[in-house]
């Protein structure tokens, strides 16, 4: 199978990648760029483990061809925080115990982050709808919902936004 060249921005960096007509964005992110925070769960758009932010919108990267992402701006979990400087949503997930096995967590955090960007004060129903594309088999969701509420409170009471100190 012949290779095709694409260029995309991943976590703020321009990347040139050789790909094929049968490569999914998920495969490109994990296998070519070695960003393994993005997980493959079902491979059919049902579980949300492969969630990324693509051109400012949540997307299931298992349902996007790598070629469709030519020219796109992609944010993965690696792009929103790191060990030294966690995103407020990541901090809230840790503090409320919203992470158990951790497999759904990257997608769940990106979904939560996107939700809070669009709706800084979501009610419980809005939170549930915001993460409705992401399955978690460990937590029973309540702690995830608590984490998103905590992050929403902190973000709205702080002007500094990302990477701020705990209140």
């Amino acid at each position: 199978m012949n290779k095709l060249n694409i260029e995309l921005t991943v976590n703020g960096k321009k990347r040139k990648v050789e790909t094929t007509t049968s490569t999914r964005l998920l495969d490109l992110i994990r296998d070519d760029l070695h960003l393994t925070g993005t997980k493959e769960g079902c491979g059919k758009g049902e579980c949300g483990a492969c969630t990324v932010i693509m051109n400012s919108e949540l997307a299931a990267s298992c349902l996007v061809l790598a070629l469709q992402a030519d020219g796109a701006d992609i944010t993965t979990i690696e792009g929103i925080g790191n060990d030294k400087c966690l995103d407020p949503v990541q901090k809230a997930f840790i503090e409320t115990g919203a992470v158990q096995c951790g497999f759904c967590t990257p997608g769940m955090i990106l979904a939560a982050k996107k939700l809070l960007e669009e709706n800084p004060h979501p009610d419980e129903e809005e939170i549930k709808r915001g993460i409705s594309g992401n399955l978690c088999r460990c937590t029973g969701y309540q702690k995830i919902i608590d984490a998103i509420k905590l992050a929403a409170n902190r973000l709205s009471s702080s002007d500094s936004g990302r990477g701020e100190k705990d209140a």
Binding site: M1, K44, A60, L63, R129, G133, N134
Partner: protein, 299 residues
Amino acid sequence: MQQRTIPCQYFAPQKIEEALGILFRYGNEIKVIAGGTDLLVQYYDRLYEINHWLDLKNIKELKDIRINKNQMEIGAMVTHTQLEVSEDIKKYFPILGQAAADIGSPQIRNRGTVGGNIVNASPAGDLLAPLMAYDAQFRLLSIQGEKIVTAEEFFIGPKKTILEPAQLLTQIILPLPSERTYGSWIKIGKRKALIIATITLALVVEMAEDHKTVKDVRTCLGSVAPTPIEIKEVKKKMVGKNFNQLDFAELGQIVEDKISPIDDIRGTREYRKDVAKKIMIKALEEIDSACGGGSYINE
């Protein structure tokens, strides 16, 4: 083998004319991709079978929702999220926006498109019953010219349509309804998110100038027959009558009798028949209570 050396190709033209030219040249050998949310599920373990892709993502005019005289034209690449948030859709075609909001998940709604939902032609496609209920027509283009067909003509079986390999669905055309038009949308499934419908109902009722007499009705259902269908017998019973003189149970029974559902993993034939009647009655009640307002109201 000579065939194996044919290079794989990916086209993402900016102009419809270019796309039509590519389609004409490749015919069955090329796969048209819109959002990909159905296609990549279907080809989950055999993406390698597709050597040529025609991606419509760069064709700007396919992404517009616009009002043109007495009709709305929705580009085939308009996403479910766009339908959900559009003020014009809320105003004129509220149950289409509600149906879009009930699709899949944020991830799916952001990428999946109205054109993809139509061309995929699943009997359970969430937008299909509302589109049919609003009297949608589809604009099909090829290098040979334009063809405009009704939803009823377009769907011919489960996942089967009259779309030819060289044709592209470019626009959905909806006549703007009168201000005395009311709609109700009901989707039944095992959970709220990421569910393929067990049954869907889109009921659209237009009242006469007196706000009491039924002028026109379209009762459309999904997941109850090989294609989305309209139950025309309901129209015969309702048109010309005063809304509060209608026998809702009788109308529900007509719907139950006229559908031909099957047993499948999402529900049995018997269950679907029972539920069809009940949701028809519920939809009529919703419209009955909305009728007092005299504007585009639903639920």
